[in-house]
Structures are given as C-alpha cells and as structure tokens.
Symmetry: C2
Subunit: 305 residues, 2 copies
C-alpha cells in the first residue's frame, strides 16, 4: 500500500500546491488504485507520476466543493481516451452523479467504460474485497464525509514446526492446508488450519479526514489508524478562522491523532496563504502534540508497511 | 494587443501542451483581457503568467468538447476567490450556460460577480467597444464556432501643417479638434475634423478558427486577417484522419491563410501524438505553403502591431 499525494492545497491551486487529490495504490494488494477527491488538474498531476488512470477503479469524493471535484470530468474523459475500458465506481455525496453526468453529456463525452455511482451517507460501510471503508459525516457546512479504510486481517503464517511434528513434510500439501478449513491426510488424520497457523496479521487502517472542523466525534474514524490523513488548512494561531470556515488547524489535527492512538499523522489541505517557508513551522506545531507527524507536499509518497 | 497561448494541445493534456485556451490581452486598448476557450487547468497555466483573472471580462468558447470547457468552473471560482468582482460575459454554444450553472450550483460556489451568457449562432455579430466579433459555424461534428475579432479603424493623426496654414498654433485646441466633429474658433472660423485628419489607421483583425475540417467557407472568417490562428491537429500526411475526426492538417491551415490573404498564421491544437521533436517538421509543412507561419507552444506570446 502506498499513498501518493497529488494535490495538497486548499480552495485554489497555487504554484506550489494543487487542489485536493490523494491516490491510494493497492497495486500489490488487488492490482488497483483508489483516488480520494479529484480537484481540477488531478489528471495533469498524474502525468508526473507512474500512476495509470486505467488502474484507478474507485474514486471517493469527500464533498462537493469545486476544489475537490472539478477534475473529475477531465480525468474520466482522459481515462477513456487513453484506453481505460474497465468499470469504475464513484462514491460521494448527493449531487455528484448529476454533476458528472451533466458535464459528460453536455460535452458529448462518451466513455469506453461504465461508471457506477454510490451515494454515501453517514455510517455507511462499503465492502471492497479485502477492504472495508467506513463512512462518517464530518462538520464542514455542507455534507462532507471522512473515510476509514480498513484492511481485513490476513491469516498468520503456517507454523512449520507444528506440521513437521505431525509428520507432514514441506510440499504442495502446505498450500492446501493454508487454503482450506481442514484437510484429511491418509495415515496422519485431519489437520485443522486454525491449529497450525500463527497469529493473524492485523490489516492496515488508513483514515482520511478532509475539510472539517475539529471534533472528538472523529475519533471513531481515526481510532488506531496506521495513518491518519487530516486536513490542516490553518496554523495553530488561526483557530477562530478555522472554526468560522469549518476547517482545522495543525494543532487540532495533531490532537485528534493523539487522542485516537494513531501511528502516523499526515497533514494536508494547506491554505495558499502559507508559502513553502511556512511548512516547517506548521509541521513543528503539530509535532509538539503528536511527534509522528509529516506534512504532505504535492507528489509526497508514503509506503504503508 | 497581445496573444498569450495558454494551452496548445488537442483532446488530452500532455506534459508539453495543455488543452485549449488562448488569451487576447487588450490591456492597452480597453484595460481588459479576453479568453478563447478554457480547457481544464487554464487557471493553473495563468498562474505562470502575469495575467490577472479579474481583468478577463469576456470568454469566448468555440464548442462544448471537454478539452475546451472543463477549466471554466474552476477559473470562475478562483477569479472570485482572488477578489474579482467585475461582471463577466461568456459567449458560446447552446448548453454552455447549463454546464456552468450546474457546476457552480452543485459545488455550492457563490461568485462575487455577475455572469452574462450569450448563446452564439452562425453569422452573429458581437459589438464590444472598439471591437466587433464576427461568429461563423465551422465543421466539427458538433456545433463549433470560429471568431473573427475586428478592431474598428482609428482616426488618423491631425495634419499639423494644415492647421498651421489656417493659423491655428499647437495647444489644447488641437485635442478639441480631434475629439469633435467640428470646432468654431473666433477670427478663424469653423474647422471640420474630416478636413484636418490624415488617413484612418486600419484596425487589426484576428481570426480564431478552432476544431474544424478545412473548408473554403472559412475564408470569410480569415480574409485579410493580421493574424489567423488555425487548428492543426495533424501533420500533412494525416489528411484522411483529420477529415474523419473533423480536424485540419498543417497544410490545410496554411492553405486557408494563403487563400485568405492573411499576414501571419499561428498553428495550435497540436495532437499529443506529436512530441516536441516534431514541431519543426509541422511548422515547415505549413511554411512551404505560407511562409509567415509560427507554431504556438504553451506560453507563446505574439504582439500584434
């Protein structure tokens, strides 16, 4: 699993930061990529990465503000133009389907693949192969949703010593034992998988909390996350401004990471009022509360191990 | 007058060329800038120029394909966010108003200025101060319009010798004579402006012919233009492809410039199949027919004198 930040700015693009988009590469896990938000020129940002638009098969939109959706029609068109022909599902708030369908219809764009729309609601759970995505309504003035991506636990490793003790030597039978609830072996008997597997490997948890006021309600989304991605539109001295515009500060993001027992925090959605020189200051503000913090820039990559 | 090419590619953005947009700076003439087409990330391109979005007061859209309009909602939003509060008029085909209004409404974008929409039709004439814009339907499969921008002739210079012959010495009276049909001066008599002005200065003509098959009908749009901007999606060996997809070749653009007695030709809307190395070849193809040709790149600027 790898996160690739395609746009880390707020509201309007700047020379340093494009508007919102984050790719979650699941190429190793399920040969696909998910996209979270798709601000204008997301497809342009993708041109500067190794990401293949046709591999993106799910797009999650947090809310309907332009800096989070205006790149969708262009991305969808180019995905088709560049040979993408596999279905794509778009999850997001009410109105998203109308926005995309109107844009495509009026521009006479005919895609080579089918789009499914899923209108998300508070507390929805989306099943997606070995992942579950939990949806929670945030506080942003208009409906805005956070997403908690939970990888299912993976079975532990075969305990080879235990198998050898039962007289089973390495071979294709090991794979068979791993893949079935139980296997009966002549002269040895029935082997139950649960008896010969180690501890399951806990699946990873990634929480994306975008465009919201700080709220302790969001601990549910962030609890024990391996990575919490949280918006930090403002520095710590702008808490009133953050509250007024339904946004968060560096400090509030760190507070949520800390109270939610997260492993890592990544700050994004940085206001264009902050130039590059301010990055270190913003980062340090969060690290005072939650040391394991990073600040995302456009094209930042984080591998989740 | 100055032309600034913001996007010179066709269909999809590439690392070298963004999708269509051309700015016509009339800052000296009327303190405004006009934009022709607004593909996705036009506002991003503008960030790399000295153009001020709030100075753009007219946008002309040639047709509804996504690579010509998907940058509109973002541009309009950011123009407002960045303090633009003066009215803006958008000219374009049927459907454009619905596209823009739907995008802005669903994204809950509230602009600080008013937008007027003018639905263009074949042979329409738009009056705009000292300019007239003639509209003509092209051949592109869907309604696509070319624009011929004609600056009105400017009055000639005062013929100082003639005035002196009449006994009128230089002073504020010269300005008065220039600004009025006639002026009566004690002891000298009535001076008619027409008698003391030199030849009028012919206004400039800029023709923009985008996304179309070649047609001699377009001579009407291009006739005697100081600058003809013509699409050249394909090289000369791809005439069949150009015809099939309702586009033009380098050679066809040059042919129109030649037959229309234009002064300069600028090629744009270059297919992403052509890398930078092909530019010289494409340019030479056109120059064989019409030597006074340039090939636009993103951020190319042409001053019209």
């Amino acid at each position: 699993m790898e996160l690739i930040f395609l746009g880390t700015g707020a509201g309007v693009p700047s020379k340093e930061r494009n508007v919102s988009a984050i790719a979650l590469s699941l190429l190793q896990e399920q040969n696909s990529i998910w996209l979270f938000d798709c601000g204008e020129a997301t497809q342009h940002q993708i041109l500067h990465t190794s990401l293949k638009p046709r591999k993106i098969n799910k797009i999650f939109i947090t809310h309907m503000h332009g800096d989070h959706i205006y790149g969708l029609p262009g991305f969808l068109s180019s995905r088709s133009f560049q040979g993408g022909d596999t279905p794509l599902t778009i999850y997001g708030p009410k109105g998203l389907k109308q926005y995309v369908e109107t844009s495509l219809a009026l521009s006479e764009t005919h895609l080579a693949y089918a789009i499914s729309f899923v209108e998300v609601t508070d507390q929805m759970v989306i099943e997606a192969g070995q992942f579950q995505v939990f949806v929670q309504l945030l506080e942003h003035g208009i409906p805005c949703f956070g997403y908690r991506v939970v990888e299912k636990d993976k079975p532990g490793e075969l305990l080879v010593n235990k198998l050898k003790d039962r007289g089973i030597e390495p071979g294709p039978i090991y794979q068979e034992i791993k893949e079935n609830d139980h296997v009966t072996i002549p002269h040895i008997g029935t082997i139950y998988r649960k008896d010969v597997l180690g501890e399951p490997n806990r699946g990873k948890i990634i929480s994306l909390i975008g465009d919201t006021r700080f709220s302790k309600d969001h601990i549910r989304l962030a609890q024990n996350a391996d990575i919490l991605i949280h918006e930090a539109t403002f520095g710590k001295d702008k808490q009133n401004l953050a509250h007024r515009y339904f946004h968060s500060t560096t400090l509030e993001a760190a507070q949520l990471a800390s109270e939610s027992n997260c492993k890592h925090l990544i700050l994004t959605h940085i206001s264009s009022r902050y130039q590059q020189e301010a990055n270190e200051q913003l980062l340090q503000e969060a690290r005072e509360i939650f040391p394991n913090t990073e600040l995302a820039n456009d094209f930042s990559r984080f591998t989740i191990t």
